[in-house]
């Protein structure tokens, strides 16, 4: 028997060589069986097409009957559920996005060269995590309409949860007793950003002094307590630069401290 070489292309583009036997002549008896097989195949196809057609007729009839029975909104609801199911939730975690922080307000500008610029009235810039819902509600419940700390707060006031004027910092540990200082700390420390180049454990004292009206009069790094990292010191200075003025004048009992001496926060990189 002759063997003809053939060439095939594989999945990887390689050529493979093989030798296959030449086809033998077909015997007569197989011609009859092929004819019979042909008619059987035709018969099976006719049967299948017939069955599918009758099933389709039965389905159409059922849909028409249901459409008369069910209100349209039932179908719409069904579609809505289908749509909701189609929106698959990714099993992968979402990309981390840095939370946006509101930039400090731009200084106001007066149109009249003789007159000072008008002050903007704004709500205190309170960090979300520092908000204390209880004291926010207390503000309206236990509002003290008397003058603001014209005398030193009593020991009882100082240790009381919440604050005498309903400050949102009321329940924070650091602000217990004096909401004014608490709010100042909040303004000095909110959204403190340390560059990733700073890897050492360092601390620096960032300080502010206020004027009587509560505006920031001076911002400075305590020269005795600067860190050895210039980048960290810059980060603290930048934070102080963005510290906004207080909305209220400095209470009398704090004037000596906040106006003359100042308040410092110990910033750390750990």
């Amino acid at each position: 028997m002759d063997r003809t070489p053939i060439v095939r292309q594989t999945a990887y583009g390689m050529q493979a060589f093989a030798l296959v036997p030449e086809a033998a002549p077909r015997p007569r008896s197989t011609a009859l069986s092929h004819t019979a097989g042909f008619f059987v195949t035709i018969g099976v196809h006719i049967f299948i097409f017939g069955a599918v057609y009758f099933m389709h007729l039965a389905d159409t009839d059922l849909i028409n009957r249901r459409a008369k029975e069910e209100p349209v909104n039932a179908i719409e609801a069904g579609l809505a559920i289908k749509q909701k199911a189609a929106a698959k939730k990714s099993p992968l975690p979402s990309k981390e996005v840095v939370e946006k922080v509101k930039p400090p307000d731009a200084p106001t500008v007066s149109k009249n060269a003789e007159a000072p610029p008008e002050e903007k009235k704004k709500k205190p810039d309170v960090p979300k995590e520092a908000q204390d819902k209880k004291s926010v509600f207390d503000k309206y419940r236990n509002l003290d309409t008397g003058s603001l700390t014209s005398k030193a707060p009593s020991q009882q006031d100082a240790n009381q949860a919440g604050s005498v004027d309903g400050s949102e910092f009321g329940l924070l540990e650091r602000a217990k007793g004096d909401p004014y200082v608490g709010e100042l700390i909040g303004r000095m420390t909110v959204d403190f950003v340390v560059p990733t180049v700073v890897t050492a454990k360092v601390t620096a004292w960032g300080c502010v002094k206020l004027d009587d009206g509560g505006k920031i009069a001076e911002r400075f790094l305590d020269p005795q307590h600067k860190s050895r990292s210039a980048a960290f010191n810059s980060a603290v200075e930048e934070r102080l630069r963005r510290t906004s003025d207080m909305d209220k004048p400095v209470p009398n009992h704090l004037k000596e401290l906040l106006v003359k001496q100042g308040a410092c926060v110990i910033f750390k990189n750990e």
Binding site: Y12, G13, M14, Q15, A87, K88, K89, S90, P91, L92, P93, S94, K95, E96, V98, E129, A152, P153, Q155, A158, N159, E173, R174, K176, G177, D178, V181, I185, T189, D191, F192, V193, V194, P195, T196, V197, T199, W205, C207, A230, A231, S234, A235, E237, E238, R241, H253, L254, E256, L257, L258, K260, Q261, G262, A263, C264, V265, I266, F267, N269
Partner: protein, 434 residues
């Protein structure tokens, strides 16, 4: 007495009330926990001065790009600068720079003459005043301006972080059947292969002298090694079937490779010099492919479909302790180890089953934390790490900007930069050149 009372009582009250606050030297000192966020170092790169505007511009642009893409710095917009640049010259007025939020400033002076170029550079930390903390002068031909500036950017990164930069490194990739090499920033592209056949999957040797790749140049997918400078490729592995997906061992003496010489793709270790099989690492009826050697040489990550779909597995370099590490998503492929010392992090291509798109993610093997590098930005595949492990390059096909190689911070933050526009498949980031 009254005065003392007036002064001491508020202090005492505050100290008691604030818990951790104390009064010292008459001031309120608050020792509270300040929640800090990690961010970029704001640096100003004002335009270089000198007598050759085109070179000045190039030096300024290269510095800004390098520092901006390094994952450490935020380069400030020059339009915000308040300083009198001409008056300052190579010095700085610290307050003017502090006022625009700059923590650091780079001053540059470019001089040319007789085809020679001199770049004088000074780095200031604003908080330290007008004394430069780093000063360098680079000399070369005018054509070296880009290279010299990359060297400076590396020095700046080293000054701040103690880590080498990657600005003198190159990326190899497969583009329309050719292996091409470019500088990490997309400049200086050249073709490494000259044949008309299919050339794919480039892999740098640890020294950066050679590249291994798979080529059909002799009809079958064999492994070749070529010098990074070009030249005639040398066939290293030519077993029947596939010889693909090379990954050099950290010492460069061995190559982990996928071979299908026995019919089924399995992972082997071969000798880098002559391709002789040293060890077979996997042996099963499933597909094992894409080996990636860990930086310390003790482990190999690879892809296997032994659990139904392609997933990332890790094994010892001797084939022991084979275990699946990617547990999220139906398809995870093309693993790459972070080269940074002290961390065990893999970057790979993950299919987002909700969108059907591919994204680049990293997996911290110590904590199991997955960080997504890309999301809703087309298809993003085949990540490769910068030599210092801070930045990832990957092939992306996006609506609008089209296909190309992008760079992204390995922590998923910041802007992604397109450095090569075109078909930049299977990018492999080479080592930092000496």
């Amino acid at each position: 007495m009254r005065h003392l009372q007036k002064r001491v009582i508020p202090l005492l009250l505050l100290a008691l009330a604030a818990g951790q606050s104390v009064a010292q030297e008459g001031r309120i000192i608050i020792n509270t926990e300040v929640k800090a966020r990690k961010g970029l170092y704001p640096i100003a790169v004002p335009p270089a001065t000198g007598s050759e505007p085109s070179v000045q511009q190039l030096v300024t642009d290269v510095q800004s790009f390098d520092l901006g893409v390094s994952s450490w710095f935020k380069v400030l917009d020059p339009r915000s600068f308040l300083a009198d640049l001409k008056g300052e010259g190579m010095s700085i007025e610290p307050k003017k720079w502090a006022d625009v939020g700059a923590f650091g400033v780079v001053k540059t002076k470019v001089t040319t003459g007789g085809g020679q170029l001199t770049i004088e550079l000074k780095l200031y930390e604003v908080e330290r005043g007008a004394i430069p903390v780093l000063e360098k002068t680079y000399r070369g031909s005018v054509g070296d301006a880009r290279k010299l500036t990359h060297m400076w950017a590396n020095d700046v990164v080293m000054y701040f972080t103690g880590e080498p930069g990657f600005f003198a490194s190159q990326i190899a990739f497969s583009n329309s059947k050719k292996i091409e090499v470019m500088d990490f920033d997309g400049y200086g592209v050249y073709a490494l292969t000259k044949n008309d056949s299919i050339n794919v999957l480039p892999a740098w040797s640890p020294t950066g002298r050679d590249l291994a790749f798979t080529s059909y140049m002799r009809g079958t997918p064999d492994l070749y090694v070529v010098s990074a400078g070009g030249g005639r490729p040398r066939r290293v592995s030519k077993f029947n079937g596939m010889n693909t997906g090379a990954s050099y061992s950290p010492d460069g003496s061995k190559i982990a490779l996928t071979l299908s010489k026995d019919g089924n793709p399995e992972i082997y270790i071969v000798n880098a010099a002559d391709g002789a099989v040293l060890r077979r690492l996997t042996d099963n009826r499933f597909i094992d492919t894409s080996p990636a050697w860990s930086p310390d040489g003790s482990e190999i990550a690879f892809v296997s479909n032994r659990e139904g779909t392609p997933q990332i597995f890790v094994m010892g370099a001797d084939g022991s302790n084979q275990r699946r590490v990617s547990m999220v998503g139906s398809e995870n492929q093309t693993p790459a180890w972070c080269p940074r010392k002290g961390v065990r992090v893999l970057a790979y291509t993950a299919k987002d089953d909700s969108t059907g798109k591919y994204d680049v993610v990293t997996l911290d093997l110590a904590t199991g934390k997955i960080t997504r590098i890309t999301q809703n930005q087309g298809n993003n595949e085949e990540p490769t790490w910068s030599p210092n492990g801070r930045v990832l390059a990957f092939y992306s096909v996006r609506a609008g900007s089209g296909a190309g190689i992008y760079l992204a911070n390995a922590d998923g933050t910041g802007e992604q930069k397109l450095v090569f526009k075109g078909e930049g498949r299977s990018p492999d980031w080479g080592p930092q050149s000496k």
